[in-house]
């Protein structure tokens, strides 16, 4: 079995458009949440959202590449350019090695709606143009990036609701561990346009604390009232240790555990058992004892039920040792399909720079979060092992464990 290491990271999010900016935001506890009046006008119950600046790729990509790329693909392209650069992988390497891509994505709403609007108006499918179909597919990120970077390895999208990005890394870990691939571009992407979250808003899952956008996402806090949708993209380059050493690459961290489970219950209501089994499976895979985990990057989205269930699951597995816990969604909002990947990027950045980002707006615990060791303020701390949770609709759960390389 191969050991699997991280040699590259890239990020494009509401708290920064590159690794440097995001590291600063994490350290400073900076929120990326705004109130978008367009959402209110459109009919959203909550106008809160993470603000992600639209990239301008003209000059970076040719017309053919740009017209097939939807918004989340643009984010993913930029995150991947940064990650490849960080990993020291250039086009010549990609041309001559079997590098793959496994990316999480679970919607592409705007291109679908734009195309259907044209067909309804014109009664002519031709007029949607040649780029539309490649933007509308759920696999849009992987089919586009595999084309842009001329990838020759594994190439598919993981759709697993808000655990998509985490499962993508988990599967990449297994593909490399088993020797099927040496290097895979993993990650997650999430669109942020006005069409992408209307039906999620309809479930009354979003915070209504619109008067205080930066204080609205408050995972684990007693007075939390819902999540804030957000997005962007995060890329993690996974590679076998042997390949990384052969290339002389800088090794940022090692992936040592992946756990997963399905709740076997309601389509949206969380459970304690499902996440707990995912946590336990990841711990067994990593051959770790609870006391060896320094930090848990919680899934906690700031919903009353979800955070409570996760707090109970964490307490069930780690109650005796109480590792540090925070939810970076307190800054970013819920990055949904991207979150599992971005939270690995955030966690590895914290590991590299020796600090833990605060769980913003954690002012008062409830009976469940009171049992956790939640990071309220930025903490200077050397961390060796981090665990990251991601859970999604339909009861899909994923847990990743990453260790610092010494």
């Amino acid at each position: 079995m191969n050991r699997v290491v991280i040699t590259g990271l890239g990020i494009y999010s509401c708290i920064g458009k590159d690794l440097s900016e995001v590291t600063q935001s994490l350290y400073q506890g900076k929120s990326g949440i705004i109130l978008d009046p367009n959402r209110k006008e459109f009919g959203y119950r909550s106008g809160l959202t993470g603000f992600v600046e639209k990239p301008n790729l003209k000059g970076l990509l040719d017309r053919r590449a740009r017209i097939t790329l939807p918004e989340q693909g643009e984010y993913a392209y930029l995150a991947t350019v940064e990650a490849l650069k960080k990993a020291g992988l250039d086009q010549d390497y990609l041309d001559h090695h079997e590098v793959g891509i496994l990316y999480g994505n679970d919607s592409s709403a705007k291109p679908v709606i734009d195309a259907i609007d044209i067909i309804r108006e014109k009664k002519d499918t031709t007029l949607v143009g040649s780029g539309s179909v490649f933007q509308t597919m759920n696999s849009t990120v992987t089919i586009n990036l595999a084309t842009i970077f001329k990838l020759r390895g594994v190439n598919f999208t993981i759709s697993a609701a808000c655990a998509s990005g985490s499962h993508a890394i988990g599967l990449g870990y297994h593909f490399i561990k088993s020797g099927l691939q040496e290097c895979i571009i993993c990650g997650g992407a999430q669109e942020t346009n006005i069409y992408s979250m209307g039906n999620f808003d309809s479930l009354s899952a979003f915070s209504l604390r619109e008067s205080e956008p930066a204080r609205a996402s408050r995972p684990f806090d007693r007075d939390r009232d819902g999540l804030i949708p957000s997005g962007g993209a995060a890329t993690v380059i996974l590679e076998s240790l042997e390949s990384a050493r052969r290339r002389g690459a800088t090794i940022l961290a090692e992936v040592i555990g992946y756990g997963f489970s399905s709740n076997g219950g309601h389509i949206s209501n969380p459970t304690v058992d499902g996440p707990a089994r995912s946590l336990q499976m990841a711990m067994r895979d990593a051959s770790l004892q609870a006391g060896e985990v320094d930090y848990i990057n919680a899934h906690a989205t700031s919903t009353p039920a979800g955070d409570a269930s996760e707090a109970r699951a964490i307490d069930e597995v780690f109650g005796q040792v109480k590792p540090f816990v925070s939810s970076t969604k307190s800054m970013t909002g819920h990055e949904c399909w991207m979150a599992g990947a971005s939270e690995i990027v955030y966690s590895v950045l914290m590991m590299q720079h020796g600090f833990l980002a605060p769980n913003l707006n954690f002012e008062n615990p409830d009976e469940d979060s009171a049992k956790l060791n939640i990071v309220k303020k930025t903490l200077e701390k050397d961390i060796n092992v981090i665990l990251s949770n991601s859970f999604g609709f339909g009861g899909t759960n994923s847990t990743l464990i990453v260790r610092k390389m010494n």
């Binding site: 053919r64 002519d124 949607v128 040649s130």
Partner: protein
């Protein structure tokens, strides 16, 4: 609109859509090579013609169109004569 204006209009939307150097366009230049058209791009050519000139190009209409002049001639044959001076 006279024929010169129409040609300017055609060149303008082709330059915008296919992002080519305006100087690369001349009546004798090869349309496919100059605009770097692949099979997918012909769909976008249909779309820009419809959006800018208001008529639908059928795929078979491209048969016989080699140069920009061929394309201008085709467009002029499809534009109602009363709109041309």
């Amino acid at each position: 609109m006279n024929q010169s204006d129409l040609i300017l209009k055609i060149n303008g939307f082709l330059v915008d859509e296919f992002e080519v150097d305006p100087a690369s366009i001349s009546p004798e230049a090869n349309l496919k090579e100059t605009l770097d058209l692949d099979s997918l791009d012909y769909i976008d050519l249909v779309v820009v013609v419809e959006n800018n000139l208001g008529f639908k190009v059928k795929p078979e209409d491209f048969v016989g169109i080699s140069t920009f002049q061929d394309f201008y001639n085709y467009v002029m044959s499809r534009v109602p004569s009363k709109t041309l001076v």
